[in-house]
């Protein structure tokens, strides 16, 4: 069922459903305490039967099948039709900010996450973290019991202990009580904390995120003298200058920004216009890969570049400093920005110092961007603070022994806190330490109490999006491992342990919702996945006069190498370290899996005599770690980028021991970059696994790209580089085409290479995780991969992305060679792979020119872990050892839609079927549809002059085709 009609039909709030005792019992029955039946495979099997998931044991036809039980309900929950999924709206909070989701649920088991089209931060898309969240939900390594100094305990015992501490604190007004949370945007949680602080007047609340937005906030302070939340309207911008802001890659609004940015690059027929993107950055990012002009600068040099641009645009006191090598570039950029007053903007990255943000604000001001391409609002956070400072104070208090009771709500500060704060040591000075977390991690190891946290798919809560829009999070399932939400812990801290998360959130909105008819608005809010009218209104802010005088230009970036810290593109700050999907997903640019590395430019590598996989010792401010080197074309020279989040010691079976811990080098005063790094070669070698070894296209026209100018001159340039044989040029008779003709078009001009499609496919199609060693042998199972190619000089290459699913060739080379007909051609043009017929000759894969077929060399799928079985999509076979598999165009979705249509005696509507990769894509680069319908969106794309087939010369006649990539360089700048 596609999410569209899901929303119309069956997508309703879980609230009353969850209310019924029957449903609760059902959930309990389905997911009992792991101690009891939960781990017993038999009961698991029976349960899966009743779910109509047809997840029965595969029996060989040769032996009699064992007698099986089928188990009906005792009382059937209303509106729950076995075999039909329901969709519920909720949101995923990350770094405090919400991204809206629609979650598919099969008889109470959330199996797949989609974006919520209504939600401003999602618009129907999700990022890789959203897709992978459902795996974290079922992760068997999540903490499952309350523990006291490592021993089993219970929530009740904890409450008792907590009450004692509460009484103590009451006496001293909570002088010894400290609360440590991440960024909080949840109105309910904020309210709870406020009332807690009211109760304990001298208690303190600290917030800390390892990947914080402190600098943006501080920058706003410098420029406007107040906390301001800045929103960019990339859809309105024709010229964009990006100062190391990977705005497509991460941040609370990145999905929205991707949509807006790519909207500005779409070229259809008619008048063609495209925005132009300048990126200045040290380490290539996916945003940089979309740039029309990319300038590799050390992070420390970005400021002076910004000043030069600012000065040329007439910003007061920009103090550009002495002329440098990139002045012409700055000149041209400035002119381009100026020429598009009101339709241009400058965006600064969170890891750039406040002054760069201030400069960006100043430039945007002079460009008249406010209100047009840049919008300011009040801050979204409940209480914006300088989090690094906040943590510093906490550590100070701990050191001074002023802290008796520290409650750590989520997060893993022991692992993520800057080295120089020595958080771990000072923590030991706290009398009673409580940690709420999804895993028993580094932090809980040092706490007295560890409370299993309820996953956001298991708990009631609320959170704000980048523009303030509130979403009420509703649980898809009762806590699998008896976890508690932050709200419940806070309530316990306030002595109201009896309150359930549901009551707490509902009460808050009853009080503060200001809704006429509460019940109705509540239902609507849950149904839509957002609370109407909570978006923050635009706000006019004035620049402080001469603020730039105060912030003198940074002295020349110190000699020696620069080290830059970045959150990891797939495991973020380390909180996703135990998620196999994210670990195995190739990083967008390096294509590394299961590891992080010290990224250096080719020139620097040569200068220091480094090669890929060479282990070096990174010495920085008295600390040192050993890290493998990976050479990154386009990286700024004399700079080393390391990703945070790896090197976990207590992540779980998946994440522990992968990569090296870059936090060990991080300091509080320069959390993002600084000079003064030393590299020592160790002579050791550490094997890194990259899924793509060869980065040149060997001039094979795989990705066809041109400039906007070339395109205007000759729209068909992409089709003329390789001629494809005329139809019917094959010995075999053509396939009878009846009814629909499914096909796909992928717009390389939109694709940003984020890889969300890879994970969406993995979640939808029960694709197993194989691990580092197998991935190294070329055995990753991803059905769609994103190929990345470089073109041009290694110091500054053009970067291209190309998602490659099965091409569903009309003359498929795989079909003719299969001896048993396990891969055959369907009447609707699908290249069908039949697992249960496959004997595993692998001939089809050898003969596939696109190498999109994946083989189960071992029993890769996990057939034993009960919780993982519950995650699986019941409409897709779980493949066993020795069979080939590949992209099916999400045939389960096609069939579902066709069946619905046939029952209603109509044809499937255009856009009714949305493949998993298409649904997730924030850039809407992937379009699936029916070629036989000339008016379908797909048919129009296929008629586009940019449309071309990959390896067309082989006469495979792929149903999946590509739209050529376009670049829009500034004629003033050569190269």
């Amino acid at each position: 069922m596609t999410q569209k009609d899901a929303r119309n039909k069956t997508w309703r709030s879980l609230d009353e459903l969850a209310g019924t005792a029957e449903f609760q019992r059902f959930l309990e029955a389905e997911f009992p305490e792991p101690a009891s039946g939960g781990t017993d495979p038999v009961s698991r099997r029976d349960l899966l039967k009743v779910m109509g998931a047809s997840l029965t044991l595969a029996g060989m036809t040769a032996c009699r099948t064992p007698a099986e039980k089928i188990v009906p309900y005792v009382r059937a929950p209303e509106d729950l039709v076995p075999g039909k999924p329901l969709f519920f709206a909720t949101a995923m909070p990350m770094g405090g900010f919400a991204k809206g989701l629609l979650v598919e649920s099969h008889l109470g088991r959330p199996t797949k996450v989609e974006g919520n089209p209504e939600h401003p931060a999602s618009l129907g898309a999700t990022d890789v973290f959203g897709q992978a969240s459902v795996l974290t939900l079922y992760d068997p390594d999540r903490s499952q019991v309350v523990t006291r100094v490592g021993r089993l305990s219970s929530w009740m015992t904890f409450l008792a202990a907590l009450n004692v501490a509460r009484e103590e604190q009451h006496l001293k007004k909570g002088a010894g009580l400290r609360l440590l949370t991440g960024t909080v945007t949840s109105p309910t949680l904020a309210e709870q904390i406020r009332s807690l602080l009211a109760e304990f007047s001298s208690a303190k609340w600290h917030q800390f995120e390892p990947v914080s937005r402190d600098h943006a906030r501080a920058g706003a302070h410098v420029a406007f003298g107040q906390d301001v939340n800045t929103i960019y309207r990339f859809d309105q911008a024709q010229v964009i200058l990006d100062l190391e802001a990977d705005f497509l890659g991460w941040g609370p609004a990145n999905l929205r920004y991707v949509r807006d940015f790519t909207a500005g690059r779409r070229v259809g027929q008619g008048p063609v216009a495209m925005n132009r993107l300048y990126v200045v950055e040290s380490c290539p990012s996916i945003t940089g890969s979309m740039a029309d002009h990319r300038l590799g600068l050390r992070a420390g040099e970005v400021e002076s570049f910004a000043r030069k641009v600012a000065q040329r645009l007439g910003v007061q006191d920009a103090s550009p400093g002495s002329p440098g090598p990139h002045d012409q570039f700055a000149e041209a950029v400035a002119r381009d920005l100026a020429q598009h007053r009101g339709a241009s903007l400058v965006v600064a990255g969170d890891q750039q110092p406040p002054v760069v943000h201030a400069l960006a604000h100043a430039i945007n001001h002079t460009l008249g961007a406010e209100g047009r391409t840049v919008i300011h609002t009040d801050p979204v956070e409940a209480m914006p603070v300088d989090q690094m400072q906040s943590l510093r104070e906490l550590v100070g208090d701990m050191q001074a022994g002023r802290v008796d009771l520290l409650v750590i709500v989520g997060g893993n500060p022991v692992f993520t806190a800057p080295r120089d704060l020595a958080f771990a040591e000072q923590l030991s000075k706290v009398k009673l330490r409580v940690h709420l977390g999804l895993y028993e991690d580094e932090t809980s190891a040092l706490c007295h109490w560890h409370i299993p946290e309820a996953h956001f798919l298991e708990s009631w809560s609320d959170a704000r999006a980048f523009d303030g829009t509130v979403t009420i999070l509703q649980p898809l399932i009762a806590p699998l491992y008896g976890g508690r939400s932050a709200h419940e812990l806070l309530a316990a801290l306030a002595g109201k342990a009896s309150l359930s998360g549901h009551d707490i959130v509902r009460d808050y909105w009853e009080k503060h919702g200001r809704w006429k008819i509460f019940e109705e608005s509540w239902q609507v809010a849950l149904h839509d996945g957002l609370v109407a009218g909570t978006r923050l209104p635009p706000k006019r802010v004035a620049l402080r006069a001469g603020f730039l005088k105060e912030s003198l230009p940074a002295q020349k970036p110190g000699r020696g190498l620069e080290i830059a810290f970045r959150p990891d593109p797939t495991i973020w700050d380390g909180s996703f370290a135990n998620n196999g999907w994210l670990q195995e997903m190739p990083k967008p640019l390096t294509k590394l899996t299961w590891d992080n590395a010290a990224l250096v430019s080719p020139a620097t590598a040569q200068r220091l005599g480094l090669h890929n996989e060479a282990v070096v010792e990174l010495r920085y401010r008295g600390a040192s770690v050993r890290a493998p080197v990976w050479i990154m074309p386009g990286h700024a020279d004399d700079s080393v980028t390391v990703q945070l989040g790896y090197g976990r010691t207590r992540a779980g079976r998946v994440g522990t021991g992968a990569g090296f811990n870059a936090y060990l080098l991080r300091t509080a005063d320069e959390p993002w970059f600084s000079a003064g790094l030393e590299i020592r070669r160790t002579g050791d070698r550490y094997s890194l696994v990259s899924t793509q070894h060869h980065f040149s296209m060997e001039s094979r026209n795989l990705i066809r790209a041109g400039t906007l100018g070339e395109f205007q001159k000759n729209p068909r340039f992409a089709q003329q580089v390789e001629e494809s044989p005329p139809p019917g040029l094959t010995l075999y008779p053509g396939h009878p085409q009846e009814g629909y003709a499914w096909g796909m078009a992928i717009d390389l001009n939109a694709c940003i290479g984020c890889g969300a499609c890879v994970l969406a496919c993995q979640a939808e199609n029960n694709i197993p995780v194989v691990g580092k060693r197998e991935a190294g042998r070329g055995r990753s199972m991803h059905w769609i991969r994103v190929d990345r190619y470089y073109e041009g000089p290694p110091e500054d290459p053009a970067i291209f992305h190309q998602p490659v699913p099965c091409m569903h060739c009309e003359n498929a080379p795989c079909e003719v060679v299969c001896p048993v007909g396990a891969t055959v051609h369907g009447s609707e043009g699908l290249n069908e792979m039949i697992y249960n017929r496959c004997v595993g000759t692998r001939y089809c894969s050898n003969n596939c020119p696109y190498k999109v077929r994946r083989f189960n060399f071992f029993e890769f799928a996990d057939w034993t872990t009960p919780s993982l079985k519950a995650q699986r999509n019941p409409n897709v076979t779980v493949r066993s050892r020795g069979v080939m598999e590949k992209c099916t165009y999400c045939v389960q979705r096609i069939n579902a839609a066709k069946i619905e249509a046939e029952k209603e005696d109509r044809k499937v509507r255009d856009g009714e079927i949305v493949t998993a990769c298409q649904a997730v894509c924030p850039a809407q680069a992937i379009v699936f549809g029916d070629l036989s319908d000339p008016n379908s969106r797909l048919a129009r794309l296929k008629a586009d002059p940019r449309n071309y087939a990959l390896l067309a010369g082989l006469n495979t006649r792929p149903r999946t085709t590509y739209l050529a990539r376009l670049r829009n360089p500034n004629p003033e700048i050569r190269g």
């Binding site: 036809t61 793509q692 070894h693 060869h694 980065f695 040149s696 296209m697 060997e698 094979r700 795989l702 075999y732 197998e774 042998r777 070329g778 055995r779 991969r785 190929d787 990345r788 190619y789 190309q802 490659v804 080379p813 003719v816 060679v817 299969c818 001896p819 048993v820 007909g821 055959v824 017929r837 496959c838 004997v839 595993g840 000759t841 692998r842 001939y843 894969s845 050898n846 003969n847 020119p849 696109y850 190498k851 077929r853 994946r854 083989f855 189960n856 060399f857 071992f858 029993e859 050892r881 020795g882 069979v883 080939m884 390896l951 082989l954």
Partner: protein, 462 residues
């Protein structure tokens, strides 16, 4: 040995004779039959048996582990989906060609020098085909469903996919195996009979007696025998060509650069005979040494085989040349890259090794001195064996590891289990071979008798 009288016919024949002079019916029968019946088993045999048996055990372990864990224990992956297993398969099938060729084709061409090598050449064929037949099964992801490749009325209501060369393989190989066996067995009958008659102990008599199927050597028996034998020869002859042609289609039918080539069938057949004869030499030389059969496997045989080796070697070399030429001439980007990658790529060493062994080494056979030097021939034969294995590696692995999309290029690193299966299969082959020479007449007794009967040998009796 008494010196032979000057006789025009014997003077004509400048090469050494196909049968050393001075043999009578009895001497032939004793010498060969004796190996099986009377003579005590030589040490060399024991040693060989021990070694090959050990290897067979290794093979067993490798197969057991393979079935338990899956083909992932090998070095294969994507893009290189076929590794040692298929290399070995093609290699063994190739080796399995000499036997039938010698027996059938040379028989029809009245090459009497075939007589003393055809028997064990045929046995070799059988055992090689057995080894080969093992691999297509083992390399399957789900070997227990191998029977789906056969057309039978299954409850699924579906049939094999007859456009696939793998299905053709099933028929080609199984037919070949059957016919070669028949041919070999029919050829054995008269000798089995004479073993029956020679044997003293009741047990061998019983066994050989049964196998001899009541052969009494009456005139009518002989006539039927001759008909049957020639008939089988006639059937076997086209198979020699067809089998390896079909095997070559596994590759020629695919669209992969380095596989997709029309020259493959003849080029594979030549290669097969080439490796076959190399293997015959590698077996014949130790055999005649161990059992002192220099009289029957004379320098004449060795020389002729060397000539065949040279001839087929040249055809193979021509095949290599044509591949390169066509890659260049096609003007096809991928073909050209394939060739360059073969010669200069990461697997260049394989290519040059193949050139050294299959093309260069065999050229030594131009010289009469090499042809008549047993150690030299043995060395050449060994090199060719290795070379032909490497050639298949070059075609399969090097062809696969870099195809159309550079993004999915990769390498192939064999694991310990790959090696175990390779040497294990060699062990199995030797094991069967060694049992054969011990239990059955390794040289056709009655055909040698027929030779002895011929005047130019007969007259040289003392």
């Amino acid at each position: 040995m008494a010196e032979t009288e000057r006789d025009p016919r014997t003077i004509e024949l400048r090469e050494p004779p196909v049968l050393a002079p001075g043999h009578s019916f009895a001497s032939v029968t004793d010498k060969i039959g004796g190996i099986v019946l009377s003579r005590r088993t030589p040490r060399a045999w024991m040693a060989g048996f021990a070694v090959s048996f050990l290897l067979v055990m290794i093979l067993q372990v490798a197969i057991a582990y393979l079935l338990a864990r899956g083909v992932g224990i090998w070095g294969i992956g994507i893009p290189v989906g076929w590794g040692f297993a298929i290399v070995n398969f093609v290699w063994w099938i190739g080796i399995g060609h000499a036997g039938t060729l010698i027996s059938a084709i040379l028989l029809l061409m009245h090459q009497e020098w075939r007589t003393s090598i055809n028997r064990f050449a045929e046995a070799m064929t059988l055992f090689a085909v057995a080894c080969a037949g093992m691999f297509p099964l083992l390399h399957l992801g789900r070997p227990w469903y191998f029977y789906w490749l056969f057309p039978y009325p299954s409850t699924m209501g579906v049939w094999p996919q007859f456009r696939s060369p793998l299905v053709w393989d099933v028929f080609a190989v199984s037919t070949y195996a059957t016919v070669s066996f028949m041919f070999w067995f029919v050829g054995l009958i008269p000798d089995l009979a004479s073993l029956r008659d020679q044997a003293r102990h009741w047990f061998p008599r019983g066994i050989y007696g049964m196998l001899a199927m009541g052969w009494r050597g009456s005139a009518i028996h002989w006539r039927r025998y001759e008909d049957a034998y020639r008939l089988l020869a006639g059937i076997a002859t086209p198979l020699v060509v067809s089998v390896h042609s079909v095997v070559s289609l596994d590759f020629a039918v695919a669209i992969l650069p380095g596989w997709h080539s029309t020259i493959f069938p003849p080029y594979f057949v030549a290669g097969a005979i080439y490796s076959g004869f190399a293997m015959v030499l590698t077996l014949a030389i130790p055999l005649r040494a161990v059992y002192h059969l220099e009289d029957f496997i004379t320098p004449r045989h060795l020389q002729n085989m060397a000539k065949v080796l040279l001839a087929t070697g040249l055809i193979v070399a021509y095949g290599y040349f044509m591949e390169a030429l066509m890659a260049w001439y096609s003007g096809n980007r991928y073909e050209q890259f394939m060739m360059v990658n073969r010669v200069l790529g990461p697997y260049a060493w394989v290519f040059w090794a193949v050139m050294a062994t299959n093309v260069l080494a065999v050229q030594a056979c131009w010289s009469r001195r090499v042809r008549s030097s047993v150690p030299a021939l043995f060395a050449v034969a060994m090199l060719v064996n290795v070379g032909m294995w490497l050639e298949r590696f070059m075609i399969i692995v090097v062809g696969l590891h870099r195809d159309f999309l550079p993004s999915s290029w990769g390498m192939y690193y064999p694991t310990i289990w790959d090696w175990a299966t390779l040497f294990g299969s060699i062990g199995l082959f030797l094991f069967l071979m060694i049992l054969f020479v011990r239990l059955l007449p390794a040289i056709s007794i009655f055909e040698l008798r027929q030779l002895v009967a011929k005047p130019e040998y007969a007259r040289s009796k003392t």
